[in-house]
Amino acid sequence: MDYLEIEGKRQLERFGIPVNPTPLVEGDELPAGLEFPCVLKGQIMAGHRGQHGAVKVVKNQEEFLKAKKEIEQIEINGHVMEGIAVTGFLPIAEEYYLGITLDAKSRALVMLFTPFGGMEIEDLAANEPEKLMRFDVTHGFDAGAFCAKASEQFELTEQRISDVAGFAEKLTHACFELDATTLEINPLVVLEDGSLLAIDCKLVIDDNSLVRQGDYIILPRRERKLSPQEQDARDHDLTYVELDPEGDIGTMAGGAGIGMATTDTIRHYGGRVNNFLDLGGGVTAEKTYQAMRILLQNENTHYILVNVFGGINNCADMAEGIARAYKEFGDGKKVVVKSRGFNQEQGWAIYEELGFAQTKFGTTDEAVKQLMAIKEAM
């Protein structure tokens, strides 16, 4: 799960990491304690905010209102603005970068540090790798090793390196405590008095860890409006992704992998796929009933491919739910089923009674070809 700057900063504070105050703008006045000039910072679930005009310096009330209005309208990669925060001007002497990220490729938690801030970190890594320090924190933070490595790589004073190490140690602690897969401070600034301050924060927490983390949301997300089918599916704990709204083929699959393979295969043989639907775990007759109902009630869908597997799930239960939905909402729509696994014979008998085309031992390709042949004949 991704968090906004202000949410990340609040977490940093919990772990004793100094951040600059970043209150939200409410109404048409500056929050108390701030004065012009100041910086408006749009809170949005996307990077490169500056490039998209979502960070603006304003010098007076007029500019403030104008910038606020502009930032509110900004969308980046389909994300909308969740709110606008504001920070005061700071006497900044230098800009650094400090971040921790999970490197799944090398299976390590890696800290990246550079005193050459103000650049895209990806560009720095690609073009001037000697300016970027990579430090493994998988086993926790070793201050001695960090200082030795930093003083070897960069010309910084001992005091400065020691200050950065203190900061980095707290950041590592926060990263572990928050189950973060990314915790990044860009920039980490050095003020004119030599103190360090986090003036931005990017926090991503591992989804599997959310159950043992608190609720860190400050601004409730304004979600993309779901289609009626997507909302309906979500209400019944089904994963539903709309693909081609004009596609006439609906799909139901038992698992994310087989669901993707089903849509890939239909596309490969020239079909137009309306949706991806994954039944997920704990499949009951009620769940397949709801899934089948959602597919059948979609006016654009005239053909349905069911591709399920009874490993833990029971083919007979799944068939029972599908049959019940078809009897209520079938309306002559054509269905092809590939269902195998636990209790497969009972499942096959139920589908046979409904007159569905089936492949019992064939591949998904064969099921798709059956479906395309039926479509052709209509």
């Binding site: 299976r107 994963t239 669901g259 993707m260 991806f276 490993g311 089936q358 591949t363």
Partner: protein
Amino acid sequence: MSVLIDETTPVMIIGITGKQGRIHTKRTLESGTKLLCGVAPGKGGQEVEGVPVFETVAEAREQFPEVESAMLLVPPKGVKQAALDALAGGIKLLVIVTEFVPVLDALAIVTDARERGARVIGPNTIGIISPGKSKIGIMPDYIYGKGHIGIISRSGTLTHETASNLTFKGYGLSTCIGIGGDQVIGTNHAEAIELFADDPDTDAIVLIGEIGGASEELCAQKIKEIGLTKPVFAYIAGMYAPEGKRMGHAGAIVSGGMGTVKSKVAALKDAGVTVCPTLGIIVDEIAALNERTGGRLLSLEPQVD
């Protein structure tokens, strides 16, 4: 021969008294696997399907020192401790079936295993099976026929799909490794394919990947590096997955052009892998290979509708 496990491999189940533990103890025994003992704290001295239960892995191994392979079936929040205990207790092959394991827990487990020279499969996997010999996993046996094709897959359902496609057409399997769908896993595609390189019972390898991550790209590098000569057939799921939308597995998310089907297909093709647009086409390719190579791949009686 087969890889990782065969009929002589002694196995234990950690979390044997839970609901899943009991179900899979029964199924594991039915498969003919040499399941000797189980572990469940607080349940030592009990039996599940006649299999003795111990308090800890160390205790179980005192009585069964030959057991170095284990299947872990405990709920997500207990996985880290149970896995670290198992590794400390001398388990050398640990299959973590559990889904939704916190990623930093998985990282700690994988790191510990690496330092001890042990192998972890998973988390979030259906496990491994050498059909007709042994399984440390939760897959139904009858769709996994015995033969000479190795399968490596991230997705559980796609392993079932691929295995059943091949089995029903008569092409049996040497070993199938479900490597797991999570971001951090103990054994990736590259490490798994290395195992098959020297296995005399494996004539061809099927590689199933999906969008997201870099596991397939690393595997392509590995194939080149070790000069693998066995034919490899690959399918990457999610050709038409919309960018940024999550379609199930944590690994299966595309963003910023990384981990796309395109980059995976290009890397694999460059390594000499036959990349197929659908899973059914893999079966056709295997059939053609069988024709060319004398027929050993067709090891089972085909089943037809």
